[in-house]
């Protein structure tokens, strides 16, 4: 009897039922009879509770599928009109005139999104890696470590409009509005994601592996380079992918500093637009149906790109933590 009670594979309510059956079979005193009544009530509560939880869970899944379906449905006019060429077309012209017909192409913004995000990633990796190693291995405890960790986590909680304002006030006077400016701001914003995941991964490296390396006369740097980094490299990569997912979708700060130019960017110092910034800028003012639908399709592309990046990241993390 005891072994089945201890078995974690048997759910709690099943367990209670077993206990009750067991008690019912044996000689029961008044006291245990009372406890049996109480247990029946507990089972009811348990069932109701479990059902509520699963309804809410299914609701979440339905919500996400609903969002995706809405995006697809709303972008149907644009998809029908332009087909796959929408993704490759370089021109975005919502106002038809005699010389320039109305045409919508996502390429400048898809490219703008990928360029700002990967540039941001490149800038942020040295910082997030440094913070992860510092907090994970060099100074896991102590006041400075706490201060640094809290500060880095605070970076993630600052509203993005504040980053946009900071970019306007500090970076734009130096660089002007450009892709580079938004990448710099994005780089700061995404540091915490890779840093905190990297830190927890580094802390999970088994102490006995590190000790093995130390016992062979390794310095701390050699242990980090040859034991810790190889052990956590897929985890670090996953952290980078998660911060990339964050950068891809960032809207407010980017819209404020990227310069909002609909043509294909010529260099990283020219102005541009991203998928997200285009939607934020034009959707509130769009009246033409094809225009609205084309903007929603930008959203659909962004949705697919971010979801794919996040799924890959999560897949790597789960594979890593199962080892």
């Amino acid at each position: 009897m005891n072994s089945s009670i201890d078995n974690p594979l048997i759910t709690r309510s099943e367990n209670l039922e077993r206990v009750i059956n067991y008690n019912a079979k044996s000689e029961v005193s008044v006291k245990t009879k009372n406890s049996i009544k109480r247990s029946h009530r507990q089972i009811k509560t348990e069932v109701v509770f479990r059902r509520t939880l699963s309804v809410i869970g299914w609701l979440m899944i339905a919500l996400v599928i609903g969002i995706l379906l809405t995006l697809i449905w709303q972008s149907m006019p644009s998809i029908k009109k332009y087909g796959f060429s929408y993704v490759w077309t370089q021109v975005w012209n919502p106002t038809a005139s005699v010389v320039n017909p109305e045409v919508f192409g996502a390429l400048p913004f898809l490219f703008g999104t990928l360029l700002t995000s990967f540039l941001a990633l490149l800038i942020s990796i040295p910082f997030s890696l440094a913070v992860a190693i510092f907090l994970g291995e060099y100074y896991p405890e102590g006041w400075f470590s706490n201060l640094l960790m809290n500060t880095v986590e605070l970076i993630a909680s600052i509203p993005s409009v504040i980053y946009g304002f900071w970019g306007l006030a500090v970076i734009i006077p130096i660089l002007g509005k450009s892709i580079m400016t938004s990448s710099l701001i994005l780089a700061v914003m995404i540091i915490p994601y890779a840093a905190s995941l990297g830190r927890s991964m580094i802390r999970m490296v088994p102490a006995n592996l590190k000790e093995a390396a130390y016992s062979l006369g390794s310095t701390r740097y050699e242990v980090i380079r040859s034991v810790i980094i190889p052990y956590v490299k897929s985890g670090l990569f996953a952290g980078v992918l998660l911060s990339l997912g964050r950068a891809l979708g960032e809207t407010m700060a980017v819209t404020m500093v990227i310069g909002n130019n609909n043509s294909f960017p010529k260099s990283i110092f020219s102005t541009g637009n991203t998928l997200a910034s285009m939607i934020a800028l034009e959707l509130p003012e769009a009246t033409d149906d094809t225009h609205i639908s084309a903007l929603v399709e930008l959203g659909l592309i962004l949705f697919v790109v971010t979801v794919v990046i996040n799924l890959i990241g999560r897949k790597i993390i789960s594979r890593y933590s199962n080892v």
């Binding site: 088994p206 390396a213 034991v227």
Partner: protein
């Protein structure tokens, strides 16, 4: 003709304010196998880890006193040089999972960035694996990952990895406590061979093992070195009542 290789003089070790090794004075002769035994929490492992300065890797851990290696105080030396001269084998076999068997043996060289010609590496690998009686078992699968081996083989691989650095002293922290009886006796047999070239200090909670493998035995209790003598004397005629009680199983 016996010469002292390690001499502990008034050695103390702490975790924060917790005094875990208390004023240990002990002399260890070259090419002997020393068993260090005592109940859990008696400070035997901390003392062992103090000898190659592994103790202080733990945040808040400190030590004072002297541990002389060939007359030189290891507490004054850089820990890296100490650990090159004093190798260590741990409780759980810990080969590097991302390295092949071959690379695991020369891991010390790889980690420390020492470049060796292939021929020299081959010699070190064969010699070290032969010393731990593993060469015949793995010579055809040297490119396989170390984690493919059985627990006992992994532990011998870890001994080979320590031996490859040609240290003077080898420290063993309960080296067979994670192994099955057959692997345990294989490792115990190794001690007799390894003694020819190295001085062995073996922490064990297994008294039979201490009696089987060691020349001298040290008994630690509550952080103190209670008694240190020839293993035969320790097990037949211990002087301290605490040693008697431990050996006769009155506490553990």
């Amino acid at each position: 003709m016996e010469s002292t290789i390690i001499k502990s003089v008034g050695y103390n070790a702490y975790f924060g304010d917790n005094h875990v090794v208390k004023n240990v004075n002990m002399e260890i002769a070259r090419n002997k196998a020393i068993a260090v035994m005592g109940p859990s929490g008696c400070g035997k492992t901390t003392f062992l880890r103090g000898i190659n300065r592994m103790h202080e890797l733990i945040p808040g851990a400190t030590a004072n006193g002297q541990i002389l290696l060939d007359g030189e105080d290891v507490l004054e030396m850089h820990p890296i040089f100490v650990r090159l001269k004093i190798g260590m084998v741990f409780q759980r076999p810990n080969p590097f999972p991302n390295l092949s068997i071959y690379d695991n043996v020369i891991a010390g060289y790889l980690l420390n960035g020492i470049k060796l010609p292939k021929s020299e590496k081959d010699i070190i690998v064969e010699k070290s694996l032969t010393k731990v009686a593993l060469w015949n078992e793995v010579k055809d699968s040297l490119v396989k990952k170390g984690s493919f081996l059985s627990g006992g083989q992994q532990q011998r691989l870890c001994i080979a990895r320590a031996v490859a650095m040609e240290p003077e002293v080898l420290l063993f922290d309960e080296p067979t406590s994670a192994l099955d009886p057959i692997s345990t006796s294989t490792v115990e047999d190794l001690f007799h061979e390894l003694k020819r070239n190295y001085t062995l200090i073996i922490v064990t909670h297994n008294m039979q093992q201490a009696a089987r493998v060691s020349d001298l035995t040290a008994f630690f209790y509550m952080g103190e070195l209670v008694e240190y003598d020839d293993t035969k004397v320790m097990f037949t005629n211990p002087k301290d009542t605490r040693t008697q009680n431990y050996i006769t199983g009155r506490f553990s």
